[in-house]
Every structure is written in structure tokens, then in C-alpha cells.
Amino acid sequence: MTKVTMTVNGKAVSKEVSGNTLMTEFLRDELRLTGTHVGCDTSQCGACVIHVDGKSVKACTMFAAEAQGAAVTTIEGMANADGSLSVIQQAFQDHHGLQCGFCTPGMVMTAATLLKENPTPSEHEIRDYLEGNICRCTGYHNIVKAIMAASGQDVSGIAAE
């Protein structure tokens, strides 16, 4: 067991973990932050994406011990300080960018990094960036639309007749 110290959603956290504890297990089982989901075992689905020092990381690919000293943000830390939905979260609701909600935390975390790197991405750039996030419900239409809307683009004409 090793002691690991980090901040998670702005709060200091210090826990004993074993060397093989995955970040997904640490967040879900130790901290009870169950918004980070596990949808596969080959790092393909992206339901577990979190931010580590501002970068998108699949939490299933990382040991908790590797987050020593890091600033970690999970879906539970994405809303505004007053508890209202952030711009990206609100866009997902406004444009029906989620159905069952299981892939959604990863989608929101990935979208946040995309918009930080590229404030007004094209449809193609969004689809390309979502390569590591699988959604089975939405056919991606409203996810892409929500991300475009969150970046301030006019989405009213998408797939209009």
C-alpha cells in the first residue's frame, strides 16, 4: 500500500492505495464518485474520461498512485460553483445529447478538453476528437450538435430539410 495525495474536484484527498488500484476503482470505490463509468476493459469506450492536470485521461488506463500530486476533475466537478449546469452540460440537455446517460460523463469531459484546445471546432473536428468515446444511444447526432452549440455556433440549420 502506498499513500497517495491529490486534489479531486478541488478538494484535497489522501488515501492508502495498493499499487494495482486503477483510477476508476479509486474514484468509484474509495471516493464514491460513481459518475466516472466503466463500459469496457480495453480502454475503447471512453465512459471513464476524467481530467488530470487539465488533460483528458481514460481513468481505466491509469493507476491511482500515478495521480500523486495531480489536480483531478471528474464529472461531479463540472457544474458551475452555484450548482447550475456548465455551458457544455447545459448544451447537452438543450440538444438532447444524451439518452441512457452512461457514456455521458466521458462525453462531457472529452468535449470540455476539445473546446479548450479548439474553441470553435467544425463538425468533422468534433467527430474526429470523439474517436475514443462510444455512445450506443444517440447515433452521435445530438452529441455533435450539443458540442457545436456549446462552442457558440448556430446549430439551427443542422440536417434541416
Partner: protein
């Protein structure tokens, strides 16, 4: 002005807030005090004899609570099949046993034969690896034709062969023979409907908890239908009476059919938790999901269409082999028969139709309903065939379809169903308007200028959903009623809880269902909550599948709300000293007709629970009503779909350039949610057409058991979709006039994609008759090489 309240309003989903903030509560998010963890040991061969399982070393390992094998389940019921199909000779289908843990033999890769329960997941995994077993591998049958051959290895030794049933439906032999004898042209097609894995993003989870104090078991599970699980597991497997068994399906991360069924793991954790008197939790890994979730589709079909000299369809006959896998999953037997054969008329007035289906056992994972369930298979066969006929005859594929459309309703098909309503001309008109067909040739030229071949694929679909009239399906072999139920509980201050049998796992019931009640009562949706997913809270409804939630459970909710209105009017009549026949309910206010005398909704609800000035001799206090609704027919959504593709002739790679869907869903409660359902269905249909395939090798090894091997559609594989549901022929037999929209996209989209690819190849001079799905670059390239 679009409505912002009630039926027809595109209200934002209230459930989204919890999902967007990580506050959803899925089964794996639930932990019980003192819970143990369970790991299954699964067969790594497709077929084998279990000679021995030695658990002694494993039992001595740290943290191990108990290890179970098939022996622990001797004398306990197996997993039941919910539908008994009768074959064409009047004999019941063959129904092999399906033990919770394999006994004597394993019959597919993934068949569980032992389970370790331990204090931690890691300890359970370690102990599972220490179990010493001797399973002698036997020859396996994988291919359906080989499984039916004389002398084939039998999946079940106690059955005479691997044929589950030989079934037929439709016109008599003489009528079919006459149609084909009189045909001016016959088009024939042999095709495969590829085996798929549903792959909801949330893997299955089951947590069993036993309360010794009251002898009650609780199962938390990733289910689309908690009451169905309670019934099947309680009555058929474990022998626990309903009042001692609670099944909870909390937030569920997608289902698509594969979470309908009662699975061994559910029965196991419930059983084991009673044995060890501690909660037992199992969480599927994705690889485990690939070899234990019921698969979908997997049909091989020969289909023939007879046309007269004027290109009228005069006869249709099919011969299908349907893979059941190694055991009969809950609704498996109904999928290739009553959910497939009954749809073979499609949108066309073909007078003579005969459907033949042989269901076959193989050493593969059981196959059952996956989004559409039988109806995508029917639609794919028919719409590929009609397209091929148009190509052979040199006629326009849309014109050929239009010429043969059913135009008068109700319409009794030769395959046992009666369409109540529809307007196939209207949806085709709408589609043509959406896709700018006249502009296609210019788009094709643009593609050609880039060195690409462009194709346009069209198809229609019809589906039967709103499952199902109990009387009818009972005659056809269903072992359950398929009604649904709702309880409307009006609270003293006027807020409402509606307990429903339907289960929402992405469909947005928590938003859409209140819109209906709000419309009926004239109050705000924010006063109404939906309660679902817990057998101890909801009436005995049958859950969500077959696009039934609104058509069946929503109808029950309407009936219960009508009862509420009737009683509330009586109370209002008393308060207003008027006859209840004179009371009108509008905008949440009860008024004596023709006067300005009124009481508010809240006055009436309070009076019901504080019955001081109340006619107790005539009316019971309280305001709570339940209704059970059993539909009198299926509902029949229909539509027309179009896809444009580009094919790269150098590589065979297909890209979807545009996709359009014109659907008739009857009345629509929340258009935003309906469009989302269609998007998702199309996404899965494009997945089936271009990418997805569940592959076994000849020994029955599952080669596609991870997301690195099974190609799920990603964002870049699909376009924005144009969808329209403005063509409305309301269902004639349910109170909302709704038809169901959950499966349409998956049913209607695969033939459009493949038809488009064939059209693209034809434009480049490649006369390719058919390419089986998934239409991969390799298959396209090979077809182009002749």
C-alpha cells in the same frame, strides 16, 4: 407556435440533470453493507464434457466465502423460455434445459460452470484462477446448415437433433405454387442477416441481497423489466414467492433488448446471497458481456418474389434458418417467428405469402431480441429483394414500391396481422421531398469528379410494435400476458406520483409521461413524477421493449388518469353543490358548466385526503387509481428511408454521405425525444450495415469479444441525419393514437445503406447483386473484382 407544455411539446429531459452531473444511480453504483463479490468461471471451449471441477485449493484462498458449481443447482429450476412455438406439424418446439451453472456439459464459449464468492473482487478473481477443472473438448456445431446435416454433433444429447422447430406461416401451398407458376418474373435473393451484439454501454450487473428478518430477497439488476424478472426467477428458477422477492432496476445504461431477458447471473446472486446470508454482487466485464449477453439477428434466408407482367407483386416465399445459440433465451423462439414472419408483407399488397423458418441450436451464445427483433430481418430481406427486382426489371425502385403499396386500411395481410392504419404514399412523398432526388445526378457527378462512386438507396418499412395483445399472443405461444399497468397517486396537496410498469433506460419516460398526465389534468408537469423500476413500488407491468412503453403503459396511465378525473369531478361536484355531470375540468380548475363557480385542483385533492366536508357515504376518501391496459392489436409504425453513399473504388470503403428518414409514428408526445430515438436506431442500423459483426471460428471460438474486435460505430462513421415525423396516421385502437418509435431506425436503415452501395457500384459498371452485411471495404472490393 410550438407547444411548450403537454402532449406535443419538445420539453427538455428532467432526468438529464442527474446524468450530466454524475448523480445517476446505476446498478454498479449501489453497494450493500457487507457485500461479497462474485466471479464466474466460464467455458473457454464451445462444447465439452465437464469431467471434474476441483475447488479445494481455491476454497482455501484468502477472502473466499464459498465456491459454487452446477451441483449446487441440482434440483433447482433452469432458466425458462417465455414463448412456446408450435411447429408446422403441431408439435411443440424442442426446449432443452438451461441450468444456472452448467451441469455435465458446457455448450458455448462463456457458458458459466462455477462461481467464486469472496470478500473482494480481487480475491474472487484470484480464487477463480485456482480452480482446477477438466473439461474435455467435443466437436462443436457453429454453422446452421452443418448443425442440421445428418449425423451432426448434437448440442443437447437428450434431443433428437439440433432443429428447435420447423415453422411456417401464411398462404397455403396451392396459392403460393399458383403465384409462382403464373409469374412473368421471379426475383431470388439469398442473404445473411449478420449476428450482432447489442452492446448497451453499461455492462450487466446483478446484486443479490437477502434479509433473514423477513425472508425477503432483493435483486438489483440492469433490467428493462423488473416484474418480468421477478416472475421468471421467482416462479420458474428459485421458487421464491413474489411477496418475498423484490427486483429493482435503477438507472439502466441502455438495453436495446438484451436487458429484457432473465440471465443466470441474476438467479445466481439471488440464490447465493440466501445461501451465505450476505449480499453478492456481480459486475460484467465487457469481454464477459460479449460471451454472456444474448446476441441478436443471425438469420440465413432465401427469398423469392413473383411479379406479374405489369410488375405487380403476386407471391412471396421465404426459407430462413434462425440461430438460437446453445439454449433458448427468454423470448428467443418468438423472434424469428411471430416477430418476423408476421412482417413479411411489408408495405405491399402481395396476395400470397409463405414464410418458412427453421430454428437451429448451435454451440454459440443464445440469440434473442435486439432492437427491432425479427422486424429488421424481415425488412432487410424484403427491401433488398424489391430493390433487386427493380434493377432486374429496369424500373425505378420507388415507382415499383409505390405501385405495390397497400393503400386501404384496415388491411389484413396473408401473414396473420391486420394493419389498422398507415399512409405509405405520404411517407414516400415526404422522403422524396427531403432528399432532393432530382439533384442526385448532379451529386453523383460531383462524386465521380473526385473518383468516387455515389449511390442512392431507398427502402420502406413496416413494423408491429406496442407489444402485445395478450389473448392473441397467448394463442401463439406466449407464456406471459403483455399488458401494462400504471397507478396514478394524487397526493393531498395536488402533486402526483405515477407508478408505471414501463422502464426508462434512455427513452426519457420521466419527461414524456408527465406531459400526458399534465395535458389531461391541465396542471404543470413539475407537479408530476414518474416512479419506475422497483417491483415493490410499481404495479405488475411488463416493462419496456418492442416500442411498447407509451402505446401500452402510456395507455394504462391514460385510463388511470381518466378514473382520477371521474372521481375528482364527483368530489368537485360535492364541493360546488352541483351534479358531477355538470363539472368541467380545464386548466387545472373544476368549473360548473355555464357558471363562474369553480374549485381549484388543489382544493379537490385536499378534500379527498381531509374528508371533513365530504360525501363519505358515496365516495371513498383518497385519490389514487390503477389501470391495467391490454392492447387490442399491435401498432404499425411505418416509413420510408433513404441513404446516399460514396464508394471508393480503389479501396471499397463506403462512407455515408446523407441519411433521411420519414416516419409515421402516429401522434407524438415529445418530438425531441422521438427524433433522438430515430437517430439512435439509424446509428445502430448503419453499424449493422457497415461495421458490426459477431464472428465465431469453425471451432466455436468467439473472435469478436472486445471493442478492439467488434466494430462499434464511432462519431466519424455516421453523418447528421434528416428525420421527419410529420406524416401522422394515429393508431386507431389506443387512447393516445401513438405507435412507438424506439426500434424504427434500426429496422428501416440497413437496407437503405446496402441498396445505396449496390446502386453506387452499378453506376460504375459493376453488376453486383448483393453484398452481405457488414458491407466492409474488403467485401465491396472483392465484389468489384467479380
Amino acid at each position: 407556435m410550438p407547444k411548450d407544455h403537454g402532449i406535443g411539446a419538445a420539453q427538455k429531459r428532467r432526468e438529464d440533470v442527474r446524468f450530466l452531473t454524475g448523480a445517476g444511480r446505476y446498478t454498479d453504483d449501489i453497494s450493500a453493507y457487507g457485500q461479497t463479490y462474485c466471479v464466474f468461471l466460464r467455458s473457454d471451449v464451445a462444447h465439452g464434457t465437464i469431467n471434474s471441477i476441483d475447488t479445494s485449493d481455491a476454497e482455501a484462498m484468502p477472502g473466499v466465502v464459498r465456491i459454487f458449481t452446477g451441483k449446487d443447482f441440482e434440483g433447482i429450476g433452469g432458466l425458462p423460455c417465455g414463448w412456446q412455438v408450435t411447429d408446422k406439424h403441431g408439435e411443440p418446439m424442442k426446449e432443452p434445459g438451461h441450468p444456472v451453472l452448467a451441469q455435465g456439459k458446457v455448450r458455448h464459449v462463456g457458458d458459466p460452470f462455477a462461481a467464486v464468492v469472496a470478500d473482494s473482487l480481487e480475491e474472487a478473481r484470484n480464487a477463480a484462477e485456482a480452480i482446477v477443472y477438466d473439461i474435455e473438448e467435443l466437436p462443436a456445431v457453429v454453422d446452421m446448415k452443418a448443425a442440421l446435416a445428418e449425423g451432426a454433433t448434437k448440442v443437447h444429447d437428450d434431443l433428437s437433433d439440433n432443429l428447435c422447430y420447423d415453422w411456417h406461416l401464411g398462404s397455403d401451398q396451392a396459392a403460393i405454387d399458383e403465384a409462382f407458376a403464373n409469374a412473368a418474373h421471379v426475383t431470388t435473393l439469398e442473404l445473411i442477416n449478420n449476428r450482432l451484439v447489442a452492446n448497451p454501454m453499461e455492462p450487466r450487473v446483478a446484486l443479490g441481497e437477502y434479509n433473514r428478518a423477513n425472508d425477503e430477497s432483493t435483486l438489483y439488476t440492469t433490467s428493462q423489466n423488473p416484474h418480468v424478472i421477478r416472475l421468471l426467477m421467482g416462479a420458474f428458477v428459485l421458487g421464491i414467492p413474489e411477496h418475498k422477492l423484490r427486483v429493482v432496476a435503477p438507472d439502466v445504461g441502455g438495453g436495446f433488448g438484451t436487458k429484457i431477458f432473465h440471465y443466470a447471473e441474476e438467479a445466481f446472486v439471488t440464490f447465493a446471497s440466501r445461501q451465505i446470508n450476505r449480499p453478492v454482487k456481480w459486475t460484467s466485464t465487457r469481454s464477459e458481456a460479449f460471451m454472456s449477453d444474448a446476441h441478436g439477428r443471425d438469420h440465413v434466408t432465401k427469398i423469392e418474389l413473383a411479379l406479374d407482367a405489369d410488375n405487380n407483386f403476386i407471391g412471396l416465399r421465404t426459407d430462413t434458418l434462425a440461430n438460437m445459440g446453445a439454449y433458448l433465451s427468454t423470448f428467443s423462439s418468438s423472434v424469428p417467428t411471430w416477430l418476423h414472419g408476421t412482417l413479411m408483407a411489408g408495405n405491399y399488397k402481395t396476395p400470397a405469402i409463405q414464410v418458412n423458418v427453421r430454428a437451429v441450436f448451435t454451440n454459440t451464445v443464445p440469440v434473442d431480441a435486439y432492437r427491432g427483433a425479427g422486424r429488421p430481418e424481415a425488412t432487410f430481406q424484403l427491401e433488398r429483394l424489391v430493390d433487386k427486382a427493380a434493377r432486374e426489371l429496369g424500373v425505378d425502385p420507388i415507382a415499383l414500391r409505390r405501385q405495390n403499396f397497400i393503400e386501404s386500411f384496415p388491411y389484413a395481410t396473408p401473414v396473420a396481422v391486420e394493419y389498422d392504419t398507415g399512409d405509405y404514399v405520404a411517407t414516400m412523398d415526404k422522403l422524396e421531398e427531403m432528399i432532393d432526388r432530382p439533384g442526385f445526378e448532379a451529386r453523383r457527378k460531383e462524386s465521380e469528379a473526385k473518383g468516387k462512386l455515389r449511390g442512392l438507396g431507398i427502402n420502406c418499412y413496416i413494423e408491429a410494435c406496442g407489444i402485445a395483445p395478450s389473448n392473441l399472443v397467448g394463442q401463439l405461444g406466449a407464456r406471459a400476458g403483455l399488458y401494462d399497468a400504471a397507478t396514478v397517486r394524487v397526493n393531498a396537496t395536488g402533486s402526483i406520483s405515477v407508478m408505471v410498469g414501463a422502464h426508462s433506460h434512455g427513452q426519457g419516460h420521466e419527461t414524456a409521461f408527465p406531459q400526458v398526465v399534465a395535458e389531461m389534468l391541465g396542471i404543470d408537469e413539475s407537479m408530476i413524477d414518474i416512479v419506475h423500476g422497483d417491483s415493490s413500488k410499481i404495479p405488475f407491468g411488463m416493462g419496456t421493449y418492442g416500442s411498447r412503453s407509451l402505446a401500452v403503459c402510456g395507455s394504462a396511465m391514460v385510463r388511470a388518469t381518466e378514473k382520477i378525473i371521474n372521481k375528482a369531478k364527483k368530489i368537485a361536484g360535492h364541493l360546488l353543490e352541483a351534479s358531477d355531470a355538470d363539472i368541467e375540468l380545464k386548466d387545472g380548475k373544476f368549473t360548473v358548466a355555464g357558471t363562474d363557480k369553480s374549485v381549484a385542483w388543489g382544493d379537490v385533492t385536499l378534500a379527498a385526503y381531509v374528508p371533513h366536508n365530504y360525501p363519505l357515504e358515496d365516495i371513498e376518501p383518497g385519490l389514487e387509481e390503477t389501470a391495467f391496459y391490454d392492447p387490442s392489436n399491435f401498432t404499425y409504425p411505418s416509413g420510408a428511408y433513404a441513404c446516399e453513399v460514396e464508394v471508393d473504388p480503389e479501396t471499397g470503403r463506403v462512407t455515408i454521405e446523407s441519411f433521411a428518414a420519414a416516419d409515421d409514428f402516429g401522434n407524438v408526445v415529445n418530438p425531441m425525444i422521438v427524433e433522438g430515438q430515430v437517430h439512435g436506431g439509424i446509428g445502430q442500423g448503419i453499424g449493422q450495415a457497415l461495421l458490426e459483426s459477431c464472428i465465431y471460428d469453425e471451432n466455436g471460438q468467439l473472435l469478436s469479444a472486445s471493442y478492439m474486435d467488434y466494430a462499434m460505430p464511432r462519431a466519424e462513421d455516421v453523418p447528421f441525419y434528416k428525420v421527419d415525423h410529420s406524416c401522422v396516421t394515429p393508431c386507431t385502437h389506443n387512447p393516445l393514437g401513438v405507435k412507438g418509435c424506439g426500434e424504427a431506425g434500426a429496422i428501416g436503415s440497413p437496407p437503405a445503406v446496402v441498396n445505396a452501395v449496390i446502386d453506387a457500384l452499378a453506376s460504375g459498371g459493376f453488376n453486383v447483386e448483393h453484398i452481405d452485411m457488414p458491407v466492409s471495404p474488403h467485401r465491396v472490393w472483392k465484389a468489384m473484382q467479380g
